[in-house]
Subunit: 318 residues, 2 copies
């Protein structure tokens, strides 16, 4: 049986998704949890993931799959009652994984589903606290702080050249045996709007309240004085959606956009890099902390297998 696992993680303390000997990785932790519950050797558990994130990159909507025999899966049930092996596995592994990983669901995958090859697109968001944003220290693990004002209009002019089908060789690590051709569906720098976390309806005290007597009438009748905003309000975000991403592609596009936003590079320089793929003059990738894989989309159930076969055919392992 093939299981689809939806999960999220804070990438700060991981050496990325992919399992590596002697390194703390997301794949390593999740596989170890599954192996423990199913009484398997870790080397017999192998996850296939939608987006292999690099060291320090986060995911709020990652998807992976695993193939497991029914009789092995049922080992998860143990003394539980009225649950399937799949549900039992979910309930157990979500409590075993470390607290920088959250398992959202484990479900039987529909026919033809492949977490990696069936995916129709991936959505990444890079968050920046520039001079105009309040750099909330509670979010410092997921936001890049820049003590500078950026020319957002120029940055958007630059990234508009990425829309459509291009070879992103100028913005990606080399991919031996594969291509760096990808189709970008959306790429835009935007200011997060100021939004209220919760609605309010303030009690202003009775005429006889001690406070009012002691201090004089409270001048605050303006309820906006009590509004609490989402912590992400005011941040600058780069959202990019593509069928898939070449290695380092999002962070390199962000690094190059920021160079434009600071006036160190021109929009034309950026557009030329898109038009003429080359590795020379690569702008360094932006730091990993600002990047999150937000979601992975799949086509309708009936098209999953067709999609996976087509993608396997056109794209080498990358």
């Amino acid at each position: 049986m093939r299981l689809r696992i939806d999960l999220a993680y804070d990438g700060t303390q991981f050496h990325g998704w992919a399992r590596q000997a002697d390194q703390r990785t997301v794949q390593g932790e999740v596989e170890a949890a599954i192996a423990k519950v199913l009484r398997l050797d870790s080397s017999d558990v192998c996850l296939t993931v939608a987006g292999r994130t690099d060291a320090g990159v986060h995911a709020s909507g990652q998807v992976c799959h695993i193939d497991v025999d029914d009789d092995v899966l049922n080992r998860a049930i143990g003394h539980m009652h009225d649950v399937s092996g799949t549900q039992a596995l979910f309930r157990r592994i979500r409590r075993i994984v470390p607290d920088d990983i959250t398992i959202y669901s484990v479900e039987e995958a529909v026919h033809g589903f492949d977490a990696r090859f069936s995916a129709s697109d991936r959505v990444y968001v890079y968050r920046v606290a520039d001079e105009l944003a309040h750099a909330d220290p509670r979010l410092r693990n997921m936001v890049l702080r820049i003590d500078d004002t950026l020319d957002v209009e120029a940055m958007n002019e630059a990234v508009s050249s990425t829309i459509g089908l291009h070879d992103f060789g100028s913005f990606a690590l080399p991919n031996p045996g594969g291509t760096t051709i990808r189709e970008v569906k959306f790429a835009r720098w935007q200011r997060v709007p100021d939004m209220n976390l919760t609605p309010m309806n303030i009690y202003h005290g009775g005429a006889d309240s001690l406070d009012t007597q002691a201090v004089g009438a409270d001048p605050r009748t303006d309820e906006s004085a009590y509004e609490i905003e989402f912590a992400e309000s005011g941040l600058l975000t780069f959202t990019i959606i593509a069928d898939a991403f070449a290695r380092n592609m999002v962070r390199s596009l962000v690094g190059a956009s920021i160079a434009v936003g600071r006036g160190k590079k021109t929009v034309q320089w950026f557009a030329d890099k898109v038009a003429h793929p080359q590795r020379e003059g690569l702008t360094g990738p932006a730091p990993a902390c600002g990047l999150t894989l937000e979601r992975v989309n799949y086509p309708e159930d009936g098209l999953l297998e067709e999609r996976a076969n087509a993608i396997r055919a056109v794209r080498s392992l990358d």
Copy 2:
């Protein structure tokens, strides 16, 4: 000259606001930064704060003040040009403080301003990820995770009894020489609405795109498939606003609400604790990580001094 300092911090790695020998505290770090810039001994720098947060509690809108002689303040200018001592101090200390503190502004305080005694109210928010919320691991330092569903209606029935002027002795550490009487203006558990981080307008590819040719028509025309929500969407929040708070008061109210929400205590038990202040049978305070001091409000400039004098008179040092 009196300076008003607005700041924020992630409380996770601090032993609270208040300076303590041999402990990492917010006050200690900010005072050390100011002392360094003004070439003073740390013991000659003393901040007065609006809300003295406990160990592990965060602040996104903390306010404090400091009194400093003009000639000392001007030491901050050094080789800077065209800046006041106040602006120079701001620019320097914001770069010196550790990255779990953000200094938002340093400004000359208006006449009569006292960060602590002029404040008209404080706003705290406690964040919980219950079974209905997605526990985003990126926010785990600022959200309490509860693997349980809570009866939010019962919790709100309970906390409605706190509105108005009450002695919160059942929910506070003893306050020798002072009272635990406070006026609550708002207290409510609410589900954070699902809000889009940024608007989108997706490019679906041309008829001749490689992707379309290879894989068949992309079935995704529904743009909701690309929406990214604020990371706090779906969380359960407790917002409470009062003129001031007794020690441990918010976390004790949260702990008692959660006991009601889990069905372990009744609404009547909660209301009785509000009606009859007593220390017996205290419900433990909820963990510090979920709590943030969100903002501090002050009356109009002309009323600052009056307010401060009145509050000093009615409330002992607490």
